[in-house]
């Protein structure tokens, strides 16, 4: 088998994708450190997993190493990027410019990986028209039209729980099919829309549970 990334043959587990993301970060560190070769053992040690896990994860997408030698850092880095869809830029809007939305708007992690924030939206008339970090805040009502002119790939939802489902419906109606939500509720979207939720409340409760159940 060659070293190109093949399209995944079967559905990839969420846990696998999460680890690929970690591997990419480690590989970039190795690259910065000037290393040219890395083994599955070294990648595993860094990520708190096993070498077999690393090899299995990679095997879903192809064959990237050389037996007896390991992986070429630069080559594997690039493959990870391609697999994760990071070789292109993603056009992102942030809906809801409260504290969280505003913080996200200038989150370096966005820009770094090619997630370009191209628009801010809010329903508060007091905010609409103002600029935040060099980006004008627009009314959510103009979303459909804006999206026709300059299609958006991802909408980040940073509005209160009570408004979240309504906003998501508007985003979907506007034709945007990638959503990242920070609202602490369960959202519903059509099957052709990809939704990823970071629920802070849930994460806190997970920590609370863990702390309560230690011996």
């Amino acid at each position: 088998m060659n070293s190109q990334a093949a399209p995944p043959l079967k559905r990839i587990a969420d846990s696998t994708v999460r680890r690929l993301s970690l591997y990419l970060r480690f590989l970039e560190e190795f690259e910065t450190a000037g290393l040219t070769t890395v083994s599955s053992d070294e990648l595993a040690a860094r990520g708190g997993t096993t070498s077999a896990q690393v090899r299995k994860d990679l095997s879903f997408f192809g064959s990237f190493g050389k037996r007896g030698l390991g992986y070429q850092v630069a080559e594997l880095t690039q493959s990870m990027r391609r697999i994760l869809g990071l070789e292109r830029d993603w056009r992102v809007i942030i809906v809801g410019v409260g504290k969280i939305g505003a913080a996200l708007a200038q989150f370096e992690g966005f820009q770094q990986r090619g997630f370009r924030v191209v628009g801010l939206y809010d329903s508060d008339p007091a905010k609409v028209g103002r600029e935040i970090y060099h980006l004008p805040v627009r009314a959510i009502e103009s979303l459909s039209e804006d999206n026709r002119e300059q299609p958006v790939d991802i909408a980040v939802i940073a509005v209160p729980a009570s408004a979240a489902q309504r906003v998501v419906d508007q985003v979907v109606a506007a034709g945007i099919s990638g959503i990242m939500s920070f609202a602490p509720i369960q959202l519903h979207v059509p099957a052709d829309v990809t939704l990823n939720t970071v629920n802070m409340a849930m994460e806190l409760e997970r920590l609370s549970f863990a702390l309560s159940n230690r011996e």
Copy 2:
């Protein structure tokens, strides 16, 4: 079996704890809506899971319903709170008062569930001494002493990736054993410290992967 929450007999899956968190949110909504009784089917419909899953999740902690009738909303709500460790207050500090840290400092979700932010810390001398949302920003160096006087349960890490491990080490050295990190790197802590990481970069890449691999 009675309706009290028993201590879990075996290790509880992460996915189970996440769902308990959802159930609690739904139960609170049902309570607000004035419902007194709920079935596993109704809870499942709301959370996008199955009734068997709901019952299995609950069964790890005891027996909470009545056959043929369902669950008492108020009673089950309280049980969920107890199980998740939400019947007490948690003393929280936020380390790193950049954009994310500042946004977190006044995140309502914290207060709402009994996570009381009692301190802010930063390494930037320009920030130390100032007040943010009525809380003074202290130097990270005073953490050990502060923690002796007023023990802290949870430290929220909101510093850049490059500083995160060092800060975590300081937090651990100060005697704090619950950590919630927002730094986009893999952190290492002793076994007796509970660490929960929200990695925004990873979540974005997960979305990017999903969007790239739709047909």
